[in-house]
């Protein structure tokens, strides 16, 4: 499996050189991940430190992106906001992938009533407009960071379940799975060794696209005031607060919105580029 992965990585590596969109996407994503990981090191000020004399200061050499109504440095808040947004989106999508993905593979592999049960449940979750589902979960769990993660995971789990099920359904009756079974391989071994490697590209593309929309969903929830609560820095809430004094100090909401856009854009371009690269049907068209 490692050899397969390495060969595949080399193929992708070549592509990045040829494909500027993918290159741009990867740069954006890497930069944002680095910014979130090293938030404490690179942010010039304490994100919650207030300063009376520097309230609503415009962007300058001292405060690169200006300060907000309470004199807090916008750049430092955005850097910490990235960490919180990406952290929430990553945890939620990972949870959705593990839970929804394994249910989907199980449903596709087992078929029968397991399949019907899991898929009908996914249908029910799909019926909800995403924000209503998230609002419902948050109404139950309360407004805090952990319930935001759960709410987003609940929205994305059925997507992964449906996505993993279809190829598993095809793969389970493929010749090499039959061959593995005739050698005495158990269900778990077949799933892990023979089915999952074939799902890697689908998982990678969907995880990347889901991260992009999860970042937006997280930002929407915190914009609505039902996401992460203060004092945790959050890009959505910064934007929401910044709107109150948009005409006096537009930079606060302008830059936090731009940060959300770039975060979401990076992952979306990455997923889009990877899909083109990995889906053989699309090759030669774009």
């Amino acid at each position: 499996m490692m050899a397969v992965l390495r060969r595949w990585m080399q193929g992708v590596g070549r592509d990045f050189v040829r494909n500027p969109i993918l290159m741009l996407a990867l740069t954006l994503v890497l930069a944002q991940v680095l910014v979130s990981v090293f938030a404490n090191v690179i942010s010039p000020y304490d994100p919650v430190e207030q300063s009376v004399e520097a309230r609503m200061a415009p962007p300058s050499g001292e405060f690169l992106l200006g300060t907000d109504k309470l004199g807090r440095d916008v750049l430092s808040r955005i850097i910490h906001g990235y960490r919180s947004s990406l952290g929430i989106a990553f945890s939620a999508v990972l949870a959705a992938l593990l839970l929804g993905g394994s249910l989907g593979i199980w449903a596709g592999y087992k078929g029968g009533w397991v399949d019907r049960l899991v898929m009908r449940f996914a249908d029910v979750l799909f019926a909800f407009p995403i924000i209503l589902l998230a609002i419902g979960v948050i109404a139950i769990l309360g407004t805090n960071t952990a319930s935001t993660v759960v709410a987003i995971a609940v929205v994305y789990a059925p997507i992964f379940a449906r996505l993993m099920r279809a190829p598993t359904l095809v793969l389970r009756s493929s010749d090499y799975v039959h061959a593995a079974r005739s050698f005495g391989a158990g269900d778990l071994r077949i799933i892990v060794r023979h089915i999952m490697p074939n799902l890697m590209s689908v998982i990678l593309v969907q995880a990347s696209l889901s991260l992009s929309t999860a970042i937006l969903l997280e930002a929407s929830l915190s914009f609505l005031g039902i996401g992460a609560q203060p004092p945790a820095p959050s890009l959505g809430r910064m934007l929401s607060e910044g709107r109150e004094y948009m005409f006096m100090a537009p930079w606060a909401s302008l830059f936090s919105g731009l940060a959300i856009l770039l975060a979401s854009l990076g992952f979306n371009l990455l997923g889009d580029g990877l899909r083109d690269r990995l889906d053989p049907r699309l090759r030669g068209i774009d």
Binding site: R120, V124, L125, P129, I135, L224, G257, L265, I285
Partner: protein
């Protein structure tokens, strides 16, 4: 055809049942129970009071009995009362849902009108520099946070068109249709833009898919021009995957509308629900989620039927 419709209706009933069970469980999953929450909301409550209210609400019965009673009440048109005002929640919802539905509908119309030609043009110019540029532009559109877009539009509009009063309360369309539409314009645009971008992308790939089919080769070999082939033959056939995507987009638009209401301070369902969360007004949250979700399930079922009418082949496969 009739058999297919019956099968779809059965699927629809199962999903609606599932939605109702899930929404029912949502309220039962609240830490503590509804009786404590309700009494807690209106002041301190003694042990005895909680017990009495629990009895009155029937919270001591089994979940199945409670569910049955809840469904029975809704069948009679009783959706529960607001914890705070004691008014039937359905009245509040009915009052607020109109503007949200209008916003969703107007955005959908705008999105359809703009995304079909945009997607078709992108497919026509596929592979060229403008296609790559459009691709980045549309992906940016898809990932544009609507609340940010809204804030930018308010800011920009005020600077460029100071005389166009876009903000302020929205008068009923029967009183002042012009002002009504004027006030709805920016919210609609904000709500629609991400969906326009996403639908245009779907249209583009559906068109490219259609352009690779045999009948297109036949049309070309007959000597038809590329323009006719693209916009007459391929366009019609790419509408099929496009229409299926519309149902999903209606859900996205509604989600967007809830956020956009907050940006433009429009008194719609979204603001009602956010208020209900803050007040812990559970009957209101429960009923609004149920009503809206059921509406979307039905809309999607209708779109699905329409799709089968457009594409006869789908009916055969199903």
């Amino acid at each position: 055809m009739l058999k297919m419709i019956l099968k779809r209706l059965l699927d629809l009933a199962i999903v609606l049942l599932g939605v109702s069970v899930l929404v029912f469980l949502m309220i039962r999953l609240i830490p503590g129970d509804a009786a404590q929450v309700m009494l807690g909301a209106s002041g301190d409550a003694g042990e005895e009071q909680v017990r009495q209210l629990r009895e009155k609400l029937g919270l001591n019965d089994t979940l199945l009995v409670q569910y049955g009673r809840w469904m029975g009440a809704m069948a009679r048109g009783d959706f529960g009362e607001s914890i705070w005002t004691g008014k039937p929640v359905i009245e509040d919802i009915w009052q607020r849902i109109g503007v949200t539905a209008e916003l969703t509908f107007l955005s959908l119309v705008l999105a359809v009108v703009l995304s079909i030609p945009a997607g078709a043009l992108m497919a026509y110019f596929r592979g060229s520099v403008s296609d790559v540029v459009m691709r980045v532009v549309t992906i940016t559109g898809v990932t544009m946070p609507s609340f940010w877009l809204g804030a930018l539009l308010i800011f920009g509009w005020a600077a460029w068109f100071p005389n166009w009063q876009t903000l302020g309360s929205i008068p009923p369309i029967s009183e002042d249709p012009w002002l009504h539409l004027q006030r709805m314009f920016l919210p609609t645009l904000t709500c629609a833009l991400p969906v326009i971008a996403s639908l245009a992308r779907i249209m583009r790939s559906a068109m490219i898919d259609a352009l690779g089919q045999d009948y297109i080769r036949t049309a070309r070999s007959k000597g038809l021009g590329e323009w006719t082939v693209t916009f007459k033959h391929a366009l019609r056939n790419s509408l099929i995957p496009y229409v299926t995507a519309l149902g999903i987009m209606a859900g996205y638009l509604f989600s967007g509308a809830i956020v956009v209401e907050q940006v433009y301070a429009i008194p719609g369902l979204g603001r009602l629900m956010l208020g209900a969360i803050a007040d812990r007004n559970y009957p209101l949250i429960q009923t609004s989620i149920l009503v809206v979700t059921c509406a979307f399930v039905v809309i999607n079922a209708i779109i699905d039927l329409l799709y089968r009418v457009i594409d006869k082949r789908a009916g055969v496969v199903a």
